[in-house]
């Protein structure tokens, strides 16, 4: 009798575990989330993060020479735009934020402040260029917005045992620059990002953002970079600065 009860209890536990995993898969496939994205978060991205610029320093920390598009798979159609880059004209036209759009913003040295705007929207602010990105886990019910530097971002958790990842797909963008010196991406570009975290020594944390920019107009293939950020204890170094077309 006791053995039978134990077996029944174990069966219930196993069925419960299996049901839980099925629920997670259903969420992954968009089959009706059981709770808000904030509650389902497999990793905590909130807080302040600072760029740690150990890669592509020459293209990120200073403005490269006009015409230098090395390491970006620019198409032939992009070359006239690259050669015509005129930061003063961008300023005059009110386009000084072209290098702060979603295609490039994670590579711009600065700080991120990540918070939950509501239970299904992750808000990512940058102090460089004072930009705000909204990662929406729930589909928008209103009609589409006009194109913008940060576009529309659809977010999905990709849970894994003991952690997971955030996937964000951004479109509806205004044409912008992948690099400060005018290497372009167009309005039809999409940006797919994967946010992963990793531990560092002394309880530190690292945020890795694998960024894939695809543009049928100005790129011959995906442009993939993976800037990373260190977690900061607070916002004491948060220093919003406006967009600049030259710096």
């Amino acid at each position: 009798m006791r053995r039978g009860l134990t077996a029944a209890a174990l069966t219930l536990v196993l069925l419960g575990a299996l049901a839980g995993q099925t629920a997670v898969r259903a969420q992954q496939q968009g089959g009706g989330p059981a709770s808000a994205a904030r509650d389902r978060a497999p990793i905590d991205l909130t807080g302040y993060w600072v760029s740690y610029v150990t890669e592509n320093w020459r293209y990120r920390m200073v403005t490269p020479a006009k015409g230098e598009y090395r390491r970006i798979p620019s198409s032939r159609a992009a070359l006239p735009l690259i050669n015509a880059w005129d930061p003063a004209a961008d300023e005059r036209a009110g386009n000084q934020c072209k290098s702060y759009g979603a295609g490039a913003i994670m590579s711009v040295p600065g700080r991120l402040h990540i918070t939950w705007q509501d239970a299904d929207t992750l808000r990512v602010e940058t102090d460089a260029g004072t930009q705000t990105r909204l990662f929406r886990f729930a589909p928008r019910t209103t009609s589409s917005s006009p194109r913008s530097w940060q576009g529309e971002s659809a977010a999905t958790w990709e849970p894994a045992t003991g952690g997971g990842s955030l996937r964000v797909v951004t479109s509806n963008l205004r044409a912008g620059y992948l690099r400060k010196n005018g290497v372009p991406y167009g309005e039809r570009a999409t940006v797919t990002e994967h946010f992963d975290v990793a531990p560092l020594a002394d309880a530190g944390r690292l945020l890795l953002v694998t960024t894939i920019v695809e543009d049928p107009e100005y790129l011959t293939g995906p442009y993939i970079v993976s800037p990373h950020f260190k977690k900061e204890p607070d916002g004491s170094k948060w220093d919003p600065t406006p967009c600049s077309s030259t710096w």
Partner: protein, 300 residues
């Protein structure tokens, strides 16, 4: 009795299904060929003195500035530039195979195949003990891995003293390298966090992405030493650190701040960008012999 037996077996099967389902969501198939992308820094194009993106100690900087490329003509120093870190610093892709236990069919290790200069790296996945501190140190080191949060996490120890950049930026045999390998669809991103108590003020953190290749990568054997004209007992080619003739080459070529080129830690943070804003003057556009992407290489 038969009912009990059937119930027990069904329960066992259910347990296996649950366990399999939970591990499947934590692991990914790493084996295969992963092509390089060349969208981020690689070391094959660096000038002799380019320590951008590094946080070096003064001792490391002095040693690096004393390095002369001719050291590669010495048999005992030929392979020093291609240690484990070159996995994410070099221009090559990953050719990964997995080895399984023939009895349990579990993965015992992943092997990242050698290429031209870089020696193959084995990531042991079987929880074997790490060797003694006094065990042999090699170019690739000893690496233990495990699955963690959907990523392949690994730590490399027992590296041979060498370079973290092939242009002579040193790394001691006390260095450790932590790896995280993430897979998102057909893209694998390898994150390296290299720590050295002697030569790095802060860890060297580099990430590099690769795309799944439909055709297998075909690379050659790793670094093999050979006689290149320098006899045992000959002097070690070097520069006096304050007289390195290449010290300002990169500075002048791209108008970069000297402290950034020399790997001072403050240059890795956004505050530094604000500091140099008023003094930095971009180089003029390249007008002839600029290479395929206006990259100044031919001009150099």
């Amino acid at each position: 009795m038969l009912i009990h037996l059937v119930a027990r077996r069904a329960l066992g099967a259910l347990l296996l299904v649950v366990l399999a389902a939970s591990t499947a969501s934590a692991q990914f198939d790493f084996a295969g060929s992963w092509a390089p992308l060349a969208t981020e820094d690689v070391q094959n194009d660096s000038v002799p003195v380019d320590y951008l993106g590094l946080a070096l100690t003064d001792e490391a900087r002095t040693r690096a500035l004393s390095y002369d490329e001719s050291q590669k003509s010495m048999v005992e120093r030929q392979c020093a530039g291609w240690g484990a870190a070159y996995l994410v610093l070099g221009p090559f892709g990953l050719r990964v195979t997995s080895q399984t236990d023939p009895v349990t069919n579990r993965i015992v290790s992943f092997t990242i195949g050698a290429w031209e200069d870089w020696n193959e790296m084995v990531i042991w996945m079987d929880d074997r003990p790490r060797p003694s501190d006094h065990a042999l140190h090699t170019q690739a080191g000893f690496t233990l891995g495990r699955w963690e949060g959907g990523a392949l996490a690994a730590r490399t120890t027992h590296v041979k003293a060498g370079f973290i950049r092939k242009t002579g930026v040193p790394l001691t045999d006390e260095a450790t390298i932590d790896w995280r390998i993430f897979r998102h669809g057909d893209v694998v991103t390898v994150l390296m966090v290299a720590t050295d108590p002697v030569y790095l003020v802060e860890p060297e953190i580099v990430s590099k992405s690769f795309r799944l290749s439909r055709t297998p990568l075909d690379y050659r054997a790793g670094c093999v030493t050979g006689y290149e004209g320098r006899e045992p007992g000959d002097s070690v080619p070097h520069f006096a650190p304050d007289r390195n003739p290449f010290a300002d080459e990169f500075v002048n070529l791209y108008h970069l701040p000297r402290e950034a080129v020399l790997g001072y830690p403050e240059t890795l943070y956004p505050e530094y960008r604000k500091k140099i804003r008023d003094t930095y003057v971009p180089p003029p556009p390249c007008t002839d012999s600029c290479g395929a992407a206006g990259n100044f290489v031919v001009k150099r």
